[in-house]
């Protein structure tokens, strides 16, 4: 009787140990699966964030390239300078267009027009030789002014005229900077959100091992039976 109880107790304890070992093994496998899931999630989150960063970086770079081609690059600046020089020549020539300005009297054929433009009162009644001389000098003066105005237009087209390079190029950089800063801001914000995602979703879940209820019962029963077996054995022998 005592021996049977002892054997049963030993069997129950063994059963409990086996159940615990199985549960531990299962928990370990679950933890391994959790770790694998976490790695996959991390990789997925990293890839998603990398795509976002790449997209924003591409937009940022595209803005930079666009500004370079449209405003800041050598070809763009040369083209802008020529256009502005042309515009300024007209604007400085008393608001006329560049073509009109260039066509202003500068030859003997248009002497009469020139002499009317700047002559003093009382000079119109002079002899022909004087009037011709006056008109020629007036036209020379107009030609001189035209050349200087053209030079002024050329000079200011490189500088701070309305669309001069001194204004247009910095404005181009400023406008590109607004977009680049915006995209950089988005990148920083996205990276911060990615940090939280990694923190919350990228860590493996911890599987806690707890002794199975059956194992506890068997362990208890085994202990009891073993005790009984020892008791009976002690009485008999």
């Amino acid at each position: 009787m005592g021996m049977a109880a002892g054997l049963l107790g030993t069997g129950a304890q063994m059963g409990s140990t086996i159940m615990q070992a199985n549960a531990q093994k299962k928990a370990q496998k679950q933890q391994e699966q959790n770790n694998l899931d976490a790695m996959l999630r991390q990789a997925m989150l990293r890839n998603q964030e990398m795509m976002r960063q790449r997209d924003l970086g591409f937009k940022s770079g595209e803005t930079f390239r666009q500004n370079l081609y449209d405003t800041a690059g050598g070809l763009a600046q040369a083209s802008q300078q020529r256009k502005e020089q042309e515009r300024l020549t007209g604007v400085y020539g008393s608001g006329t267009s560049a073509a009109e300005f260039a066509a202003r009297p500068a030859s003997d054929a248009s002497i009469a027009a020139g002499s009317q433009r700047g002559a003093l009162a009382g000079q119109s009644g002079g002899d022909g030789e004087f009037r011709t001389d006056l008109a020629r000098r007036l036209n020379n003066a107009a030609g001189d002014a035209r050349n200087r105005i053209a030079a002024l237009a050329t000079m200011n087209s490189y500088g701070d005229s309305q669309y001069g390079l001194g204004n247009v190029v910095p404005l181009g950089f400023q406008e590109a900077g607004w977009d680049i800063n915006k995209f950089n801001n988005f990148r920083r914000g996205s990276l911060q959100a990615h940090g939280i995602e990694q923190q919350q979703l990228g860590q493996p879940s911890q599987t806690s091992y707890s002794k199975p209820a059956g194992a506890t019962a068997l362990e208890g029963a085994g202990g009891l039976l073993s005790g009984l077996g020892k008791g009976f054995g002690g009485g008999m022998f």
Partner: protein, 225 residues
């Protein structure tokens, strides 16, 4: 943290749900923040694009400047011609080579003064454009710091009000025309006034080709600031 089974406890499930929600909330909030910034930028762009679509705004500014200075230049040119006429007539040289030279010189000065005025007005418009860009820059910086489109819109509106209140520097013109000294007495007087300058038609004064500098040609004073 814990989700995906394992212990299978309800506490773990709750914790997993909470983590998912937090991560989702962080991403959603970031997306909303970016949308707010983009909405603010769109609003600012729309407000400031009004300037691009309205070149008359800048033309009015330019014409305001030239309309203010042009009568002064015309008046001074007219006075200089009249004075020159009197002096030439006094000296009996109204129809001489010297008279033709002096007349042509005044006409040249007039052309250059007008060009300088136009250059100054055009540069002032460039400054106005820079001021507007600077206002836009302020609005955008404020948007990025606040990330609140409504505040950015108010800044944009206030900036536009500021631009419309901007006024050009309309200081009066100095003497722009220097005419030739005609006759002995006038020549001496001119020499005394000019500190022994380079004769009647001498190029004294502060000649400058730049729009922001002094006057063009033989002016005595400065042109537009």
């Amino acid at each position: 943290m814990g989700f995906g089974g394992g212990g299978g406890s309800s506490a773990n499930d709750m914790s997993a749900m909470f983590s998912i929600m937090q991560a989702q909330q962080a991403r959603d909030e970031e997306n909303r923040r970016q949308q707010r910034i983009q909405a603010g930028r769109d609003l600012i762009d729309r407000q400031f694009d009004l300037f691009k679509k309205n070149p008359a705004f800048f033309d009015r500014y330019r014409y305001g400047i030239t309309d203010y200075y042009r009568p002064q230049i015309d008046s001074q040119y007219s006075n200089a011609k009249r004075n020159l006429t009197f002096q030439l007539a006094d000296a009996g040289t109204l129809r001489s080579t010297a008279a033709a030279d002096a007349t042509a010189d005044l006409a040249n000065q007039n052309d250059m003064n007008l060009a300088s005025m136009n250059a100054k007005a055009d540069s002032a418009v460039g400054d106005l454009r820079n001021q507007i860009a600077s206002n836009k820059d302020t609005a955008i910086n404020q948007l990025m710091s606040t990330e609140d489109p409504s505040i950015a819109a108010n800044t944009a509106l206030n900036s536009i009000a500021t631009v419309q209140l901007a006024k050009p520097d309309l200081s009066p013109l100095g003497a722009l025309f220097q005419q030739a000294a005609i006759g002995g007495a006038n020549a001496v007087k001119s020499w005394q006034q000019g500190g022994g300058g380079a004769g009647g038609l001498g190029f004294g004064g502060n000649e400058s080709a730049g729009p922001g500098g002094g006057s063009m040609g033989k002016s005595q004073g400065s042109f537009i600031g």
